[in-house]
């Protein structure tokens, strides 16, 4: 994958790579509060059926995930775990911040214990507003993320160290 790291990938290969990446996203669910109910409706219920978009919401571990949806109130105590979760995910990795609490603190904007926005800890790709957002809103966020991946140069997402075989 040295081509990817150096950004010298042929355009046709980039298109193919992005196509396959955006329609096979393994999504880790990180539900922290009431938004997790809506996320569960979007991901686990047959009514909304996120798998038709190519998202598989059932990775066994963050190490198998391409995307994490952080939904709910992020407290300062939980922030450490979210940072660790993000660091465990392999590049390229994406974060969707779902709900007002995760975006900016929401109704807990003045709390002593709530992190005012998960983007203080990890970089966020798509913000889904709402308190809580409806499942359709989360699905739209995923579609937006897929559009973002479509026009992306994989090299820009390659933040990790190159893999060295000894």
């Amino acid at each position: 994958m040295g081509l990817v790291e150096s950004g010298k990938l042929p355009k046709s290969l980039t298109t193919l790579l992005n196509l396959s990446r955006r329609y096979s996203m393994w999504c880790y669910q990180w539900g922290l509060a009431c938004c997790a109910i809506e996320m569960g409706a979007a991901f686990a219920g047959p009514r909304y059926d996120v798998m038709r978009l190519g998202v598989i919401p059932l990775p066994a571990s963050p190490r198998q995930a391409d995307l994490v949806v952080i939904s709910g109130t992020v407290t300062d105590k939980m922030a450490v775990s979210i940072k660790r979760l993000y660091e465990q995910m392999p590049d390229p990795k994406y974060v969707i911040s779902m709900g007002s609490c995760t975006n900016c603190g929401g109704p807990y904007w003045d709390s002593y214990s709530v992190t005012k926005g998960v983007d203080q800890i990890v970089p966020v790709d798509v913000y889904v507003p709402g308190c809580p957002p409806r499942p359709e809103a989360l699905l739209e966020g995923i579609v937006l993320l897929q559009q973002k991946i479509r026009h992306e140069d994989p090299a820009t997402r390659w933040r990790g160290d190159p893999i060295v075989v000894q």
Binding site: D76, K77, V80, W109, D110, Y112, S113, K116
Partner: protein, 280 residues
């Protein structure tokens, strides 16, 4: 209640405001106060055991019994309730900080502030009503003599009665004997109370953080704990002032908006200056 400070004193002891509100009614029409023989008997058990050391008590007929005891009798009073009154269910233990917030009342608009001699109220840090004089604060049911109190509620699950026991905690020694020997479930309540208010519970098996991160500094449920977000941002309800939908007068609505906007501008300037000082 006429005292505007009472609503602000403590949410946990919201019933305390009712106590003060009902007290005058009780003195005016003493005959109409309903008797509650069950709870009077329960109170008699306490007075029999502790005599004058029952500092104060209060009964709301059909609702609850409040008993305030000395700190030396705290464990004995809880044990008495458990053994003699059959209150074997430990409902909760918590603390009260009766001091009014020194930061004022953020959530109230400036127009509601009490003004002395027609002058404009002085704003300490942020928008909102300036702090309340601590001397005017009334402590709820069963009274109190100190800023801090610890209280616990015990329930008799057989007949549904319950007792609220309160104890004063003096400022110079914020410690209370632990209840964990009587109720193992008091462990986490006391740990939470310890980290939120800063009380120590003598004899507790392990006072360490329960909810807050380990390195947390300060005691967030104390009234003088500063909420930093409020220092840099006015309360949203004051900022987002909209004319009431019922206002049909088209001229009145813009006036309100501009007035509110001016107030917010002045407030943000004021807090910007103080906020900078605070951070330096």
């Amino acid at each position: 209640m006429s005292d505007p400070s009472a609503g602000d004193t403590d949410v946990a002891e919201e019933t305390g405001t009712d106590a003060a509100a009902e007290a005058p009614e009780g003195t005016e029409a003493a005959e109409e106060v309903p008797r509650d023989e069950v709870r009077e008997k329960q109170l008699a058990v306490f007075t029999e055991a502790f005599g004058d050391r029952v500092l104060d008590s209060h009964i709301v007929a059909g609702v609850d019994l409040w008993v305030r005891v000395d700190r030396a009798d705290w464990v004995a009073a809880v044990e008495l309730a458990k053994v003699k009154l059959g209150c074997t269910f430990f409902d909760f233990l918590s603390g009260i900080d009766w001091a009014p917030s020194p930061w004022g009342r953020y959530e109230d608009a400036l127009e509601d502030a009490p003004r002395a001699n027609g002058s404009s109220p002085s704003i300490p840090v942020n928008t909102g009503i300036p702090p309340v004089d601590p001397a005017t604060v009334e402590q709820g049911f069963a009274g109190g003599a100190t800023r801090f109190q610890v209280f616990a509620r015990l329930i008799n699950v057989k007949d549904g009665t319950s007792v609220v026991l309160k104890v004063d905690v003096p400022d110079d020694d914020l410690s209370v004997p632990t209840l964990t020997r009587l109720f193992a479930g008091a462990n986490w309540h006391e740990r939470e109370c310890w980290e939120m208010f800063g009380f120590t519970f003598d004899g507790h098996p392990g006072l360490r953080h329960l909810y807050l991160p380990g390195g947390f500094e300060g005691h967030p449920l104390r009234k003088d704990f500063p909420l930093v977000a409020r220092m840099v941002k006015p309360w949203p309800g004051i900022v987002d002032v909209e004319p009431m939908p019922a206002t049909d007068d088209p001229e009145a609505a813009p006036d309100e908006e501009t007035a509110a906007g001016d107030a917010v501008e002045a407030a943000t300037e004021d807090q910007a200056s103080t906020g900078e000082e605070g951070t330096q």
